[in-house]
């Protein structure tokens, strides 16, 4: 009974939190949906319903999309390599000092969002897709490193130990004893992150890190709604396409 009362109290608190949030932000939903601003928004939105499909713009978008794809793919690849490198100590293979150090590093890499990394890297490496790629790689290596470390921890050690007993070195024992068991899972994790990174890569341009995002930012700043609409459509196609592709790849290679 008291638990039930507690739940009701909790729901009440949540409700109050919602009301307080609206109050704090001073959002007047009525004014937002009122006649004048709504018609203004309508005019703004109507600009998006006539996407610019002229060939030069489409060609530019195609290049931007390829750039976005390349950024996300290369960033994820770099992240997978760096993540694996950090996952080995984080799975406790080189003693507890390396374990705690690498875990701290992984958490720090993961905790800072991609966009913040991008803003930082743009400061260091200048504008352009290179900064976006590096930013994606930094954040993703934190995420993948942690997932990889968990995978490695849950992998039986006997096959690698058997190779060691046959006289093989540490690297060889890892490649022959551990990698065959874990690689499908590593690939699956990387594919999942790639899906995510495509979305991120298409918006990193907002802070100047290349790809479709940079074009969209420019278009919107110049009030070119028609061009922006085509860009958003392109992003949508890209995201849905990659979702389908990586879903297929996962089924083909991972669950088999």
């Amino acid at each position: 009974m008291s638990r039930r009362l507690g739940n009701y109290a909790l729901l009440l608190v949540l409700l109050l939190a919602v009301i307080a949030s609206f109050g704090y932000l001073g959002i007047d939903l009525g004014a937002l949906l009122g006649g004048d601003s709504l018609s203004q928004m309508g005019r703004y939105a109507s600009g998006f319903f006539r996407p610019d499909l002229s060939p030069p713009h489409l060609a530019a978008i195609g290049r931007g999309a390829l750039e976005t794809l390349a950024m996300s793919a290369v960033g994820t690849l770099l992240a997978a390599l760096l993540g694996l490198l950090l996952a080995l100590p984080a799975a406790g293979r080189f003693g507890w000092l390396a374990l705690n150090g690498s875990r701290l590093l992984l958490n720090a890499l993961r905790a800072v969002p991609e966009l913040v990394w991008a803003a930082l890297v743009v400061l260091a490496a200048g504008l352009g897709p290179n900064a976006g790629t590096l930013a994606l790689a930094l954040h993703t290596s934190g995420v993948l490193g942690r997932l990889f470390a968990e995978t490695l921890e849950n992998t039986p050690g006997e096959p690698a130990e058997a190779i060691r007993l046959g006289g093989g070195g540490h690297v060889i024992a890892f490649c022959y004893g551990t990698l065959p068991t874990v690689w499908p899972q590593l690939i699956a994790y990387s594919l999942y992150r790639w899906e995510n990174n495509i979305r991120m890569a298409s918006v990193l341009g907002f802070v100047g890190a290349g790809g479709l995002g940079q074009m969209l930012y420019v278009n919107l700043s110049l009030f070119q709604e028609a061009q922006a609409a085509t860009l958003i459509l392109a992003m949508l196609v890209l995201v849905l396409g990659v979702d389908a592709l990586s879903g297929w790849a996962r089924q083909r290679w991972v669950s088999a």
Binding site: P159, G166, G167, P180, T181, S255
Partner: protein, 267 residues
């Protein structure tokens, strides 16, 4: 001496005494079977000889060297000359048989060759020849998780045959095979040992197989050597005493492929 143990004892990390005061000498080219009830210490003895476990007392000589006095690199070189056949071969489920067999030579190959071999098997004929001695040649390109327990055991044996070790240690190498196949496999191992003049040490649960295939039998019980005789000198009474009050234990199952589970926080 191929193997020489002087008063060797082994205490597991949990304090359980596995072996005590073992004295054993095996000359090069000898073929020895170790028999005894479950929990007698057969596996511990073999793992000790394979330098997988470190003795807590006594002196251990393998192929004329003391493995625990050596540096890490020299110990790895010594290990490359010793082949251990596991009861349930620890093979990665997704590895192909050809790679699993060729992995026997990893201790002798350079790093580059080993890594290249992972991408493309470098000695398919060698692997196939070894497998065909065990009637498994047609499984060359299958994946290990598609094999039965007995087939997996034979892949493990093929790996050690391919390794061309100077000392073969076999821990229940035929436990998952039917009697005919078990006999055949043991004679392959014995032929190999006799042909190349190498030492073979095998622990066996089936006493008849041990008596039929090996010229020297060691009885192990509660971590001590009870007898060390040629098969014709072993009486029924000695066997009964060796196996008195044995509790049957189920065989450990071969490692199954773990299902791939993916859980990702998506934000």
């Amino acid at each position: 001496m191929s193997i020489s143990l002087n008063g060797v004892g082994l205490i597991h990390a949990n304090g359980q005494v596995a072996l005590s005061a073992i004295d054993l000498r095996v000359r090069p080219g000898e073929r020895v079977a170790i028999i005894g009830p479950s929990g007698a210490g057969k596996t511990s003895l073999l793992r000790l000889l394979a330098t997988s476990l470190r003795p807590s007392a006594g002196q251990l000589d393998l192929l004329g060297q003391q493995p625990w006095q050596l540096g890490a690199r020299q110990r790895q070189q010594l290990r490359a000359r010793i082949g251990l056949i596991h009861q349930a071969p620890p093979l990665p489920p997704r590895q192909r048989v050809v790679t699993a067999v060729l992995a026997g030579k990893l201790g002798q190959w350079s790093l580059g060759k080993s890594l290249l071999n992972l991408l493309h098997p470098l000695d398919m004929h060698g692997a196939q020849a070894t497998l065909s001695r065990l009637d498994l040649a047609e499984k060359l390109f299958e994946r290990c998780d598609q094999l039965s327990g007995g087939q997996l055991q034979r892949v493990g044996i093929a790996r050690v045959l391919y390794q061309a070790a100077e000392l073969i240690l076999a821990d229940e190498p035929v436990s998952a095979m039917d009697p005919v196949l078990a006999g055949h496999t043991l004679s392959v191992l014995n032929q190999e040992a006799a042909a190349r003049g190498i030492t073979l040490l095998a622990s066996l649960h089936a006493v008849e197989l041990a008596l039929a295939h090996f010229p020297r039998i060691i009885g192990l019980r509660e971590g001590r050597i009870v007898f060390d005789l040629p098969p014709e000198a072993i009486s029924t009474g000695a066997l009964d005493a060796l196996y008195a009050n044995e509790q049957l234990q189920p065989l450990p199952a071969s490692p199954a492929a773990a299902p791939v589970t993916i859980q990702i926080p998506r934000c």
